[in-house]
């Protein structure tokens, strides 16, 4: 099987500093592939190596079966990229920047620019320097998608977008997938990766520690439970799947993996003032699940 993205033992050191070590990725055609890890784990380093912005120390990296260093120009003809931090030419209007971007591709992108900017409610006549971070991000999304690329690489794409715009953004990505595009979606937010991706690779301290289907991740997913009781909090809860249990005078918190109905039944036995059941942060997941 040929992969859209394929890395083998991809390693990058910045001098003596660790970038990524022996990263192996295989992203299939039409897949939305999540790439998740805490800040500094090596996500952006991997992406920048794929894009030819930085050079590998060892291993191999291929996109569309082509070498990321030797065939960079051919690869980039069909890749759209949204960086984690968007910086564009401040004095340009959004429309001019997008036309400039479109000029690098051998196709008419004007209809797509219009369609995307309408969906994202982006004012194309505004100068970049006058835009909020969220609007700059929208410009970034449009410039990454305007040439209908076969591979879309998104590095922390939702930062700066409000929840409504995030929803629109996810719809756009779904549309791109229906068109046949492959998506590499890098994030440190587990929830958004679970929301949209088919598979996910988890990277920590430069190494891939697990690659799995989102359905498997969900089965293993932890919940973070915080409870405020009306009386004294129990010293322990007798429920399989509870870990990292902490109790104070009238509050308790723990991580839980298992049947959610059993959890509700167990907590329901107490008189409660408040309860929060949330997705744990990635750091908490690493702490309680992947830290082995």
């Amino acid at each position: 099987m040929s992969f859209v993205i394929e890395t083998k033992d991809l390693t990058k050191y910045y001098g003596k500093s660790r970038g990524i070590i022996d990263v192996n990725l295989e992203v299939g055609e039409g897949e939305i592939f999540g790439f998740i890890g805490p800040n500094g784990a090596g996500k952006s380093t991997t992406i920048r190596t794929l894009l030819g912005l930085i050079y590998k120390s060892s291993g191999s990296a291929k996109v569309f079966g082509l070498d990321c260093e030797k065939d960079k120009v051919r690869i980039l003809e069909d890749v759209g990229y949204l960086p984690s931090e968007v910086f564009y030419y401040e004095k340009m209007r959004a429309i001019d920047l997008l036309k400039y971007s479109a000029g690098f591709y051998k196709k008419d992108c004007s209809a797509k620019i219009r369609e995307l900017s309408e969906a994202l409610e982006l004012d194309l006549n505004k100068k970049i320097e006058e835009m909020s971070l969220g609007n700059k991000k929208k410009v970034g999304i449009v410039q990454g998608l305007l040439h209908s690329p076969s591979l879309i690489i998104l590095d922390e794409p939702t930062s700066g977008l409000d929840p409504l715009m995030q929803k629109t953004f996810f719809s756009l990505i779904e549309e791109e997938r229906k068109r046949g595009a492959t998506v590499l979606f890098s994030s440190h937010i587990l929830g958004e990766v679970q929301r949209i991706c088919d598979r996910v690779a988890i990277i920590k301290e430069g190494r891939i520690i697990k690659t799995q289907k989102i359905s498997e991740l969900r089965e293993n997913s932890y919940k973070k439970v915080s409870v405020i009781t009306q009386g004294a909090a129990p010293a322990e809860i007798n429920l399989p799947g509870v870990s990292a249990y902490q109790a104070g005078d009238n509050h308790l918190s723990f991580m839980y993996k298992g049947d959610i109905n059993a959890l509700v039944s167990a907590i329901g036995g107490y008189s409660l003032s408040n309860i929060d059941i949330t997705d744990p942060s990635l750091e908490e997941i690493f702490l309680h699940y992947y830290e082995v």
Binding site: Y14, R48, L51, G52, L53, I54, Y55, K72, V73, R74, L76, E77, V79, Y81, P83, E85, F87, Y88, Y89, E90, Y100, S101, G103, F104, Y105, Q143
Partner: protein, 261 residues
């Protein structure tokens, strides 16, 4: 892409052009006060040689148009060199400093292509700057009603200006590619220029120091040679060959370096 590069550099070009206009036109306005004034010569003769060397006035008769213009040309060339250094630094590092490199270098163009377009933009501005120097020179003498007996020398000074500033432009391109910190390229090139300026002073002051001339591009095309109607071929070749070497080395380094903030 070239159009955008030219648009980006337009404001800086206008500012530098204004400075050049001030040096050449305002400078030549002052010539009428110096013309044939032997008293001024006596004053300059009393100056220590090192002071004259700082102002590029060693062995120049400022009471004549050729001598006076040679001093102005010295300042114009310094101006062009500093402008060239800033153009070279911008060509290589502007995108990294502005953090827009993730935009431009993820487009389907090779780094070689992108950097060459940027260099072309810089060369166009530098060439235009030198042509304007010539234009201002002709215009200033005409406006002042000065009989221009040195038209050919003015052309040669502008050619010398281009060769020297182009050399420093390429030197800065090379240093900017070589040094990993984007802001440091222009600093290093300016430091080299300052050093070469000091070496040039030493060349003017010291006797039997002809070898120093090789390390002082400002002295490659001496007043005497230019005013006699020639540019030293050896130094033309040195300028062009050194520029080519800097360009080739910069291209090789830049195509292999990691692009980071």
């Amino acid at each position: 892409m070239l159009r955008r590069e030219l648009k980006t550099g337009r404001r800086a070009f206008l500012l530098w052009t204004f400075g050049l206009f001030f040096i050449v036109v305002a400078g030549l306005t002052k010539f009428t006060g110096f013309a044939g004034n032997t008293e001024v010569l006596k004053i300059f003769d009393d100056f220590p040689k090192i002071v004259l060397a700082v102002f590029g006035m060693v062995g120049v008769d400022v009471s004549t148009l050729p001598g006076f213009y040679a001093i102005l040309a010295f300042y114009s060339i310094i101006c062009a060199v500093i402008y060239g250094i800033s153009l070279g630094a911008n060509a290589v590092n502007r995108e990294s400093i502005d953090k827009t490199y993730e935009f431009i270098f993820t487009k389907p163009r090779s780094r070689f292509y992108v950097i060459n377009i940027k260099l072309l933009g810089g060369i166009i501005y530098l060439t235009a700057f030198c042509l304007l120097n010539l234009l201002f020179s002709f215009a200033a003498t005409a406006l002042q009603g000065i009989e221009n007996t040195i038209s050919e020398q003015m052309v040669l000074f502008s050619v010398a200006m281009w060769l020297i500033s182009f050399l420093f432009f390429m030197l800065c391109v090379f240093l900017s590619a070589l040094i990993n910190k984007p802001e440091k390229g222009a600093q290093a090139a300016n430091a080299v220029f300052l050093l070469s300026f000091l070496i040039g002073m030493a060349y003017d002051i010291l006797e039997n120091a002809a070898f120093l001339r090789y390390f002082a591009p400002l002295k490659y095309f001496s007043y005497g040679e230019v005013l006699s109607g020639t540019l030293n071929t050896k130094f033309i070749i040195i300028c062009l060959v050194a520029s080519f070497i800097f360009y080739t080395a910069a291209s090789l380094i830049f195509s292999k370096k990691d692009l980071l903030d």
